[in-house]
Subunit: 680 residues, 2 copies
């Protein structure tokens, strides 16, 4: 048996043992992709002892259900993942969960939801191209890593992969090499029932290079040749189409039966016997195989050492660039960057918060190279392109270059979200942001969820944040969107009321290392508030306007409804109801403050009425009564729609009066007090 | 000027006037697509006086921002849309909102969010193929309508269109003819910045027929020839690629400037002059043009009259089929269908609700021909395929036929959602349902939102509804998902606790004509409850287990947490806390009950603790304290994860005791009482 065959069979047997021990998982794809994994991980540039080395090759398992294969490879290469960890596969609190998770050393991105990984890979490749264009100098190739990805039929069916792979073709990302595990089987059975498209032709239509390996089950040399050829494709991403047999070696190979359930014990025995393994032994790795991968790991360690030498020389010749690179590697924003944030007073004119967002971006992005922006083809609406921006484009198109930091994502919200995750996952402190209408962040829900789960600090610039957008009508007006993302763990959902709050939102979002943000901005103009400040708003919630005497009512609002509530408070005061107005631009940040602080804002004993022109769902967490919009919006002038739905000072006043009357004589507790803490 | 040219210029000028009067909207696409619109609407089979005739051709404007064009065509053809309505374009409460809305006569589906319309069109074509295969007989072509769609570059970038168009190719939908408005301009500018793929090649890879019209701006004959040729493509959907100039005729034609803003007055003047229109006149339609479209409308009316004659003869020869067709046309389910719903007692064994769902489907779908099911490649997990199902497949593949009612959607959740909307929009009482994991309904959020907005009664069979799914881990375990959809207006989100509740969920979902549903089902087994019944559960919420004496605590729960709460109640009773348990399987349905009924379930004076193993967000609407999971889940055995997060009888008991203590001595109001009604 050749050493390659031995290694491949070891990978197969170890993957099978891992899934069998768990009695749960997916043996089929690891059996089919073991040759590709062996070949690729024998040629990868990575130092398992330093999984964070910035110039390592990135590997993304887009068909994340095949994770047993990835764990096996990480183990063999010497990452911090033992045989014991393999035995704990899919068990509670193990290092080897059922799908790859970002926090595991050697796992670059969290995958499993299909189509995300290959889209993250596009982001990783964009990040590399940007770093290379920014920091490489003659004789100093600081960055030249590749991004590799495995993906399957399921990934190809998902729309998110279409979006990301199309833009990858346009961007000519030659540093991206993907391996398509074409096994013609999915959970429902033969893909011919539902998926018979000509994948190579489709990818070629996007501008990808296609290489074909007819026998992905055994032809290691063919896979190797394809990899070498792919590396020569400098201006096109490459897809290596591997024709494989799912569950290769199992008696049920080539069928859906081997996809998502452990092999039967008899099947495992025949498979081990066939390949010369002792069927009585489990998790056995021949020393030869360990030795083989040790050499790969050593080569990786050596490559890193050489890179460090190179970087030391670079630091002398290009001290400014090196210092910046090192700062980014340490995850620190430029010192004093927050002083660039604009501040406002109530003397400043009425402006839409999307415009105020543009002002922030133009003030800060030129000085913070790790910020890389874009929009899903709504640049003139989202106002996301900062002053002086250069587009991130292939240089040969003449409309930008790879050092550019503004990405034209096209109308591809989901792909954009997944690409942002990939850029953030690259490291070097990348802070991607992108624009679309708030309502269409929902198109990207799958990617937003993974930002939150993985803790990628990406930023959505979500403009046109309510019925205030006007004529485009209910198809474009968000209602449930804020509730949706507020219910998601580990994500900020800011809805600033004015310029100081916009600055605060960007400040907290950018200073966060492990929490993504959605910043919801208005299309329409809003006044600058007298009571706002960056400092106060940075707490997520604060008293923006105090009642002239002991408050009999508290209005708590966000965004465009804060100034509306302040106007209503004036009417309510004439009605004999001294009214406090609280601005609550971000629930997540407010919840992080001490209970003492929070209760100083929303105390016991005073009825609290929330005012927000979207779904009331979730607002009872902070209020006793809710004024919102639990129906879809309407097409018309923004002001007319506000009026139709009684979001006027008088409409708020009327509900304020009713709220005070309703709770008269009731001893009210602050909704913030709870009998027990939530499990976090 | 030829009569075609006059009509086309009239359409252009009328579209421009419509947008200008509104001072808001999109003139560019109507100017570019006017020739195609004229040609198509001169050859469409439709009776404007009876927009619901089932065998009419369907037209879908996927680039919905071009809606001025659609309104103009509907007006010219004689639909119930006057010049006055055109003048009210984009004004509040008008019949002509900023994007096409389903309720407007002649508008088949709500569009605007890009990519949805062309995906709906796939659903409309599937519905037609199913109706034809089910009801057509020799000499009786009851159904032969086409589905036409216009779409633009934006639609092609969106992932949802990839998903739907790929499955359309697989399904060989020859009845689908799409017109691609290839104008190379999007909001950000020239599409070459972001979108330079070879669209025809991509569509060919899916199995589409491609026809090309080089000059879409003027070549009406070429467009006509393409349409005739497309109709000959019986086993492939056709895309007619029209190369057009956005804003044709404007001084800014061919640029992004004409996309989304009204033309300047001077521009309108030169454009009208150029085409021989009086620039002083607005909304002027030459009588010749009205006459032309009157003839089209007359032909449509004649076609319907002939069809009615045919159907009368058919009714004699095929009385059973005709009666069924007529019943469906009247929107009535088969009489007594609800008697097929299974009922359970507590003596029945523990079963997963996904399995109970399968039992319901197998019991009812064979008897209700308007139900058409499917899954996004998770059939063996979702258990969505009913007993005796035939797959909906092109007959030549030998794995089903078009009369089949089970669709293999592939891993295409978003496309599936949009296709279901299209099927429902076809009429004839179609009730589409489809399966995926609850967590991945989020991938389809854009389509789900449009189901709710348009009121398409589609059903999501959303299995694996919590951490209870176990080993697949946090990437697959929903947390925010229920809150997301509960916050969306006009949608039911059922989470049944046992077999009777599963039957109730299907009953209410299927009886609903204008509200979609998400049915969340467990992977794991649940006991049949003593206190449940279809009748009680059909109210959305009810007392499933009463306290032995006056309740000092109410536990309100859904799904798998109901039996858990009943177990906890037993422990609490030992602690001296008589506890009522309320099952609240659907907020939406519960909210529709009288306040009196609701307060009989959740009264004043008793602390209420919600128990649901997902986000607590929104639960304060029904409870004073919340036990949930405001973090991501974990990979492990389902039971282990429940234990880790203290979702055990003891964990609920502990929180119940704390809740009672916390609120001791406080006069509690039911959270159901509110000072004012929400705007609905």
């Amino acid at each position: 048996m050749s050493s390659d065959t031995l290694a491949i069979n070891t990978i197969r047997v170890l993957s099978v043992d891992t899934v069998s021990k768990a009695n749960s998982g997916h043996p089929g794809a690891p059996l089919g992709m073991a040759p590709a994994a062996h070949m690729l991980f024998s040629n990868i540039k990575a130092n398992p002892k330093d999984p964070n080395w910035p110039n390592r090759d990135r590997f993304v398992l887009s068909n994340g259900h095949a994770v047993a294969l990835q764990y096996v490879m990480l183990h063999l290469l010497g990452y911090d993942l033992t045989i014991e960890d393999l035995k704990q596969f899919r068990q509670i609190d193990s290092k080897t969960p059922g799908h790859p998770e970002f926090h595991t050393p050697g796992v670059e991105v969290t995958t499993g939801p299909l189509g995300q990984g290959i889209s993250n890979a596009v982001g990783l490749a964009i990040a590399q191209a940007n770093i290379a264009a920014t920091y490489n100098k003659p004789n100093y190739t600081i960055s030249d890593n590749y991004t590799y990805s495995f993906f399957g039929d399921g990934c190809m069916m998902e729309g998110v992969s279409h979006e990301a792979m199309a833009i990858a073709g346009h961007l000519q990302l030659g540093n991206l090499i993907a391996f398509y595990d074409s096994n013609k089987i999915s959970i429902d059975g033969a893909t011919g029932q539902e998926f018979d498209e000509d994948v190579p032709k489709r990818l070629q239509a996007y501008g990808w290079e296609i290489l074909d390996v007819a026998d992905g089950d055994t032809d290691v040399q063919g896979l190797y040749n394809a990899l070498q050829k792919a590396k020569l494709s400098k201006s096109k991403p490459t897809c290596i189409v591997m024709h494989t047999t799912i569950g290769y070696g199992s008696v049920h190979e080539g069928t859906a039966a081997v996809h998502g359930s452990p092999l039967k014990p008899d099947d495992v025995i025949q498979l081990k016997k066939k390949w010369g393994f002792d069927p009585e032994k489990f998790f056995a790795v021949p020393q030869q195989v360990y030795d083989h991968y040790s050499k790969v790991a050593e080569a990786g360690a050596k490559a890193e050492a050489e890179w460090k030498k190179l970087f030391a020389a670079y630091s002398k010749e290009y001290p400014k660039e090196a210092a910046e690179y090192t700062r980014r590697e340490n995850g620190k924003l430029p010192q004093g960057w927050e002083n660039l944030l604009p501040k406002y007073t109530s003397a400043d004119p009425k402006v839409a918060t999307r415009k105020l967002s543009e002002t922030v971006l133009s003030a800060i992005v030129p000085s913070i190279p790790e910020i890389i922006g874009g929009s899903a083809d709504l640049t003139p609406s989202n106002l996301t392109r900062f002053k002086g921006a250069v587009d991130f484009q292939p240089p040969n198109l003449g409309i930008g270059d790879y050092a550019g930091r503004y990405i034209r994502y096209g109308v591809r919200e989901h792909g954009m979200g997944a690409i942002m995750n990939g850029i953030a996952a690259y490291g070097l402190n990348f802070r991607p942001y992108s624009g679309t209408f708030l309502n269409f962040v929902s198109y990207a829900a799958g990617a937003v969820r993974l930002s939150a789960l993985s803790g990628h600090p990406v930023i959505w610039v979500a403009t046109h944040d309510s019925i205030g957008l006007g004529e485009d009508g209910p198809t474009h007006q968000p209602i449930e969107t804020l509730a949706h993302f507020r219910a998601l763990p580990n994500i900020m959902v800011w809805r600033p009321a004015d310029g100081n709050e916009v600055s605060a939102a960007y400040k907290v979002a950018l200073e966060s290392d492990h929490t993504p943000s959605i910043l919801a901005f208005t299309r329409q103009g809003l006044p600058e508030l007298e009571g706002s400040s960056i400092e106060k708003a940075s707490k997520g919630g604060y008293i923006v306007s105090e009642a002239p005497s002991a408050a009999k009512l508290i209005l708590v609002a966000t965004g465009s409804e804060v100034s509306l509530s302040i106007d209503a408070a004036k009417l309510l005061e004439k009605d004999g109801i001294p009214t406090r107005v609280v601005s609550l631009p971000d629930f997540f940040t407010f919840d992080k403050q001490s209970l003492e602080y929070r209760k100083s804002v929303l105390p016991d004993g005073v009825p609290i009425l929330s005012v927000e022109v979207l779904s009331t769902f979730g607002w009872s967490k902070y209020s006793h009564a809710q004024f919102g919009l639990d129906r879809f919006g309407a097409s018309g002038k923004g002001a007319d729609i506000y009026k139709k739905f009684e979001f006027t000072p008088e409409g708020v006043e009327e509900r304020g009066v009713k709220t005070v009357k309703f709770f008269e004589g009731t001893k009210l507790l602050s909704p913030l007090d709870q009998p027990f803490l939530q499990i976090q």
